[in-house]
Symmetry: C2
Subunit: 387 residues, 2 copies
Amino acid sequence: MTLIKVGIIGIGNMGSSHAKLLIDGKIEGATLKAICDPNQEQLNVISRYSSGNVQTYLDEEAFLNESGIDAILISTPHYDHPNLAIKAFSKGMHVLIEKPAGVYTKDVAEMNKAAKESGKVYSIMYNQRTNPIYQKLRSLIQSGELGEIKRTNWIITDWYRSQSYYDSSEWRAIWQGEGGGVLLNQAPHQLDLWQWTTGLMPKRVHAFCHNGKYHDIEVEDDITAYVEYENGATGVFITSTGEAPGTNRFEIVGDRGKMVVENNKLSFYRLTQSEREFNATYKGGFGSPECWTIDIPINGNSTDHQGIIQNWIDSILKGTPLLAPGEEGIKGLEISNAIYLSSWLNEPVELPIDADLFYEKLQEKINQSTFQKKNVTKMTLDVSGTH
Amino acid sequence: MTLIKVGIIGIGNMGSSHAKLLIDGKIEGATLKAICDPNQEQLNVISRYSSGNVQTYLDEEAFLNESGIDAILISTPHYDHPNLAIKAFSKGMHVLIEKPAGVYTKDVAEMNKAAKESGKVYSIMYNQRTNPIYQKLRSLIQSGELGEIKRTNWIITDWYRSQSYYDSSEWRAIWQGEGGGVLLNQAPHQLDLWQWTTGLMPKRVHAFCHNGKYHDIEVEDDITAYVEYENGATGVFITSTGEAPGTNRFEIVGDRGKMVVENNKLSFYRLTQSEREFNATYKGGFGSPECWTIDIPINGNSTDHQGIIQNWIDSILKGTPLLAPGEEGIKGLEISNAIYLSSWLNEPVELPIDADLFYEKLQEKINQSTFQKKNVTKMTLDVSGTH
């Protein structure tokens, strides 16, 4: 059987973890051929882990031109994803990018264009799409069980990070290095699932970001965003890395009831008739439609990062449909960019946002920065079970 | 034993219910002496229920001057509460007002002043303060168990009302008649408990109100409010009468964990150390403080409206401390007024709000109204178990 020769660029927390999956033979149909990182020590760790069976590159151009890989997994700092993916597509490689797709939609749109022109298999590490609970939620909503959506609400504050996490890399949590905080690093999963499960993108966003509220960092670690959808529904998205223990509760209200995902459980509060219909016909004053409380059975387990990598390889080898097509990375990022922009301008913004204005405002943040990172420890963290 | 002679003005849904409690002898130390309402039929219903033992008045002045009552329970439309209370205090009566205290803080402040000058016992129908779950929550927070508060979140959408509810009275759900919608009629309980349990009033409010979204009404039936507190904490308050089944979930996050009230259960996710301390000292990158999940035992039952009326009578007769002092009604109303004002101005507002500006904007709403109420049925609804 053909083995897809995979290369990984960016051997930090996530890249190291992905490399080990491949070295350990967890991905059928693929082999790790080469890795690239500007930090020799990071390369050495993985090289030793592979017993010297993986080529190492400090230089990006050499990695891209000489390693002979078929497919590239990009797990560099976020800013570099689009640029690297575009280069890889031009060399005929299949591409899997870590989330977020990038820092601003302007260059992610270019990456999507390059992907389309290349015809290569392009995926994004939305590993939480492998969670059967969100797959079931999506399928119920898309099948019309919930009726027209009225309100969404996601409190996703269980992304707790201590100061030592932010001190683990120089690029983290500064505008120039990472381009954002919890919204760009941790919450992209939920920003994606929010739109993926409901099938709805916000039309208008009004958001409130707080920078360095709980940590000595330049970017935001606490956010509340209010959104409005085209059909008049509203929504709230709350995220933070400063709360312990956090909450992860996603509530979606529709004309036919309510669905709540919390504590790995999907509850469906199902009306026996449409609320709009009840409202129009009921004559009793107080009273509400009959409601059944249902625990929706969830089958299977999250296959997580391994599942996304395997799906990408299967798509390359066998044409398996992608669970997380790379082109869809722009959706969560568009919401993320809108949240920042609204907070920076202190006014509501409409989607699609003015991508040039966002880019300009982000450059202002970078150029006006006076933040100095202290106590950088440069450690590679064990991410098992955390993302 | 002395019996306090109580009069009730406003014999609608709530007034009728309170009258029956008194007639049924459910309130120790009090007797219902007189009732007043401009609608003869409403008076007749209660008069028959009392076997003719209660005096009835169509005229407010006669009721206040000739009925010989010691204490007045005011359950008229909201606008009239301050005016009637001020008159009653001037005649030496004790006063219990239905919630909300009024429609705008301007005249509620005057009512509070009159109450203070009179020295009479002045309470407000915040019957949900009798719920032992909120009493326990308050006592835990006030004792410091939760540490400094970081975030509050109340989704209180289980105030479902159908169109027929709004059609039951002419004054309901129009700016001129009621002065507001879900925020002024249903949610005042939670607006009060939000500040009463936490001991925090918001400093800044940014809110989004939707008028007549789910019903043929002039006022709001769907609201999302974002608030900021003096200490930097944030909060969200969501309410609606258009969702079925609704949610009633109150989450408070502090430095020492999280408390959640939902489904008549108080859960305390208690950290074994301060999160701020952990953040400053932990060196492991990923990781969070140890957390214990505790079901807080709740003893006793809500005594509800009966409890508030009894407490008011006990305070008159025996000096028992009030659970819901009338003076505190202005707090929830101040938040409510701020939410409207922010939504009307489409900008954040600081608390205390500009009470004159709010009054002026409300008059504009009233004067510019072109809304016509249709299908008014004028029915008195059975409110048992609904408020």
